[in-house]
Symmetry: C2
Subunit: 135 residues, 2 copies
């Protein structure tokens, strides 16, 4: 493993099976979903419980990493914009950032209230989220 | 490049030269800093301007990736806690998440108001931040 190799720590389990079904943001109708942590990372979950707000970092494995500019929201009427100014999944390092609330922790499974990532998406990290991150 | 290889898109330029000098959060006295984007990713910056709030994703290259539990805030009186329940830089995939405001864009250099990453930290991604991310 070199310095820049990611290791998936888990996977998303979701009713969303394809990118075309997935909303662009959790608030746009994303379903409840589960994050299944791999057994070797169990210790890292200690202290996460129901009611907590978390950031889930994913690897958007179907993204096009060569894309530098997009029409925002996939609408060709929107002018081409650099991907760093958008939430497009297509970008050089397609890291997804998802805010969710933990509903239940059952062993290695976290059930969360809403997640716009598709089934099978690799999970990279979880961090506690503040109610409102400082500006 | 395999699916899980990161490619740095830039670097942090900061007066913070070592991890021991760096505050744990930007709000805890982090200095102004610059993000220098590599020329091949220039197009991805189109549309980022002064006054915008962004998420900067970094690779915390000095982190210990084998750490699964820590004493929060490095204080041994705090009970050992899983790293997914903390903001510790030591974690399986040491991705740093930093909220900042863009002060100036000068070619490939973004000057931001506060950043707790040390000089030379690789930058992985930039995304627009909402004033308050939805809960």
């Amino acid at each position: 493993m070199t310095d820049f190799d990611l290791q998936p720590v888990g996977r998303v389990r979701s009713a969303l099976k394809s990118r075309s079904e997935a909303p662009r943001q959790a608030a746009e109708g994303a379903p409840m979903a589960e994050v299944i942590i791999a057994p070797e990372f169990a210790g890292a979950l200690d202290g996460i419980g129901p009611g907590e707000n978390i950031w889930i970092f994913t690897w958007l494995h179907e993204a096009n990493r060569a894309t530098l500019r997009v029409h925002p929201r996939g609408n060709r009427r929107n002018p081409l914009t650099g991907v760093f100014a958008t939430r497009s999944p297509d970008r050089p390092n397609p890291i997804g950032l998802h805010r969710a609330k933990v509903l239940e922790v059952d062993g290695l499974t976290l059930r969360v209230d809403a997640l716009e990532a598709i089934d099978g998406t690799p999970v990279l990290d979880i961090k506690p989220a503040l109610i409102c991150e400082p500006a």
